[in-house]
């Protein structure tokens, strides 16, 4: 395990949380978007994370070991729950009955997710700071 493994793990957490924040921002920005490239209303996007593992040969024991490498974003999926139906006959995207299909984005949920993502980001930053103070105290050995 390299000296800066912990820092790399925490920075993978930082970029994953940033991607989650970008996804949430996109959801909030498109909360009322009734048209996309496919002609469908916007659907809520979810970032899917996966733990990042690596198998490595130990030079001492000669056995394969699982190395922790943090987190990685595997894909961004659409939330396929039902779309909101709003009665607005004057809207150009209204159907024959006068209903408009609005995105399945709930602003309150998105704000709560945004706060959780911000806190997770801060937790990763403080993990980096803890690692940094460990390195600087290791550099003081023998002084």
């Amino acid at each position: 395990m390299g000296a800066f493994t912990g820092l790399n793990i925490s920075s993978s957490g930082l970029s994953a949380e940033r991607l989650r924040m970008d996804t949430i921002s996109s959801n909030i920005a498109n909360a009322d978007t009734t048209r996309t490239e496919t002609g469908e209303p916007y659907r809520r996007k979810i970032a899917v994370f996966q733990e990042n593992l690596d198998r490595e040969l130990n030079s001492v024991t000669g056995q394969y070991e699982t190395k922790l490498k943090g987190v990685k974003a595997v894909q961004i999926v659409n939330d396929n729950s039902s779309l909101r139906q709003v009665y607005d006959p004057s809207n150009p995207d209204a159907n024959a009955e006068g209903y408009v299909s609005m995105p399945n984005v709930n602003i309150l949920n998105e704000m709560a997710d945004l706060i959780s993502s911000t806190r997770a980001y801060e937790a990763n930053v403080s993990a980096i700071n803890a690692q940094k103070s460990m390195f600087s105290s290791a550099l003081q050995i023998g002084r």
Binding site: M1, L7, G13, G70, S116, A123, A130, S137, Q140, I141
Partner: protein, 135 residues
């Protein structure tokens, strides 16, 4: 100072080094837990060292009369990463508790700093003896 004293001090010094290793691994594992706080189905990991250390100090270890001879490699307990698959706090199956991880991180950093200052004071004691009390 007899030969026995030197090897006794060496054991303490090796123990400090091994504990530093354990502490460093623990910092990596805690970072990994924090990085995966939003990963669905992730189970938190933890490092075991101190409990195996107690067992291995009670056990009889292989005696060596030469530092180049091989030992069993685990005379101070093995540092191993284990998975805690017990409980889950959230609906997505993730069982990372951010509060306990942050507390463990703080505790681990203090432990690491205590060990580095121990190693430092041992080195400076030896330097003091080598230089005969002067600088």
């Amino acid at each position: 100072m007899t030969v026995n004293n030197i090897s006794g001090q060496q054991i303490t010094y090796d123990l400090i080094k091994k504990s530093l290793d354990a502490s460093s691994t623990r910092a990596d594992v805690i970072s990994n837990n924090i990085a995966n706080i939003n990963t669905a189905g992730y189970k938190r990991r933890y490092v075991t060292f101190e409990d195996t250390l107690k067992q291995s100090l009670d056990n009889i270890t292989m005696k060596k009369d030469n530092s180049l001879h091989m030992d069993d490699g685990n005379s101070f307990g093995a540092i191993s990463v284990k998975e805690d698959s017990s409980s889950s706090m959230k609906v997505d199956g993730n069982n990372v508790d951010i509060d306990s991880e942050m507390a463990n991180q703080a505790q681990n950093t203090l432990m690491y700093q205590a060990l580095t200052s121990q190693a430092s004071s041992r080195i400076s004691m030896r330097r003091y003896v080598i230089t005969g009390g002067g600088n």
